[in-house]
């Protein structure tokens, strides 16, 4: 038997299992990689967050966010998100969505057991709900639930609906219902014509996982300061490393893509 294990048979075995495990259709779409690039760029772990907290870049972004929050509050756009950002502080580490959680200099989550919900109704009467929650002040639980009701089957969205849940130490790490899969991108159009693209990550390895919610031009978030071509990427991220987790950031994109260097002042 031993001498029969030729290179040819090894090659056949490896190629067979590789194709079975990764059929062509299972490779993430390139646009997903592009989106993930955005997420990676803005991802912070705890140390980075701590460093960033005192940086000029951080302060500049703080001012930008402060302006944005004011506009959101005045405009009443996207009630869920507006409420979430309303408590933004230019001084502290309340980067965004402090109703959900805030990034401390240690990079840990705080603000336990708070849920923010954003609900939108589509032209067909369907309802999309985006719900986020953070429930572990010890530093590491984030949950994002995206659900759609009344959406016709097979429209590409229901397939990715369901719960996305990450639970981190000190208990267990339990990915649940990851039926929308890694890197899946789905779009949904709300009643006002806003087109949302959801980019899903997953959380079943110890490496940081990201869940991105991309609000495109004309989206609920695209209020006055954004009208000059900027739009916002609202990013939820989760880190599952010890004592550090989860960043969520507003990221500004201009007509030519993400601006390298400093963030613009709105």
């Amino acid at each position: 038997m031993t001498d029969l294990l030729t290179g040819e048979r090894i090659a056949r075995a490896l190629k067979t299992v590789a194709v079975a495990a990764v059929p062509d259709g299972r490779v993430p779409d390139f646009s997903t990689v592009a989106c993930w690039e955005h997420l990676y760029v803005e991802d912070l772990d705890g140390d980075e967050a701590a460093t960033w907290a005192g940086s000029p870049r951080r302060r500049r972004l703080g001012r930008s966010l402060g302006a944005l929050v004011a506009v959101l509050a005045l405009g009443g756009a996207g009630t869920g998100i507006a409420a979430a950002t309303g408590a933004f502080s230019t001084e502290g580490m309340k980067l965004i969505a402090p109703a959900i959680g805030q990034i401390l200099p240690t990079g840990r989550w705080t603000a336990a057991n708070v849920t923010t919900r954003l609900s939108e109704t589509g032209p067909d009467g369907s309802t999309l709900t985006l719900e986020t929650a953070s429930a572990d002040a010890a530093g590491g639980c984030m949950r994002l639930v995206v659900s759609a009701q009344g959406v016709a089957p097979n429209d590409g969205f229901v397939a990715c609906g369901g719960a996305y849940s990450t639970l981190h130490p000190p208990t267990t790490h339990t990915p649940t219902n990851t039926n929308f899969g890694s890197g899946a991108t789905r779009t949904w159009t709300s009643a006002n014509g806003t087109r949302w693209t959801f980019v899903y990550g997953r959380s079943n390895t110890s490496r940081a996982k990201k869940v991105g919610v991309v609000a495109k031009t004309g989206a609920v978030l695209a209020t006055a300061p954004i009208s000059n071509g900027w739009f916002i990427l609202w990013v939820l991220t989760a880190e599952s490393t010890s004592q550090q987790t989860a960043g969520r950031h507003l990221v500004y994109y201009g007509p030519t893509g993400r601006q390298t260097g400093e963030y613009p002042t709105l």
Binding site: A11, V17, V22, R26, E37, P175, T260
Partner: protein, 162 residues
């Protein structure tokens, strides 16, 4: 505006080059990642990490395919290092079982039991069909080292398979 290829933030290596490389090599590189990790989720992570890094290169590598393969191998190594550090914080979800004839499965099981350095060489040799010289280029090691690992890997594989 959409988040798509027209707004990619890649620098150095142009967006078109990144996209082209992804379309051409993405599936085979993901399979390489899978063969080195035995896990589709990890393979996706590795693939995405590699291409985000690739997009940040200041200049285009002379041989993108070899360069990207090397990045995959290194990304897998990085993944294992970080996992050993953080393993208590989560384990990957198991892939669905592979359906293939018993011999294929037995060989694959044996490959998975190899030490990582031998597994890398065998996968590059027999899955990617690289020569020992090309493997040496990917792994950035002498050809002799590749031959040695290949020889030891084959011997061990045959022993495991038996």
């Amino acid at each position: 505006m959409s988040v798509g290829s027209e707004v990619l933030p890649f620098e150095g290596v142009t967006t078109g080059e990144v996209e082209s490389a992804y379309r051409e090599l993405g599936p085979s590189l993901m399979r390489l990642g899978w063969l080195l990790t035995s896990n589709r989720t990890d393979a996706e992570d590795v693939l995405q990490n590699v291409f985000t890094r690739y997009g940040r290169l200041e200049s285009r590598p002379e041989r993108p395919d070899a360069y990207l393969r090397a990045m995959i191998v290194n990304a897998v190594r990085d993944l294992y290092r970080s996992r050993s550090r953080d393993e208590r914080f989560g384990q990957p979800v198991d892939d669905e079982p592979i359906e293939a004839d018993p011999e294929v499965i037995e060989i694959w099981d044996a490959v998975q039991r190899l030490p990582q350095d031998q597994r890398e060489v065998l996968v590059l040799r027999y899955h990617d069909d690289l020569s020992t010289e090309e493997i040496a280029e990917v792994l950035q090691c002498p050809v002799g080292t590749v031959r040695s690992r290949l020889s030891r890997g084959l011997a061990r594989l045959r022993k495991e398979y038996r």
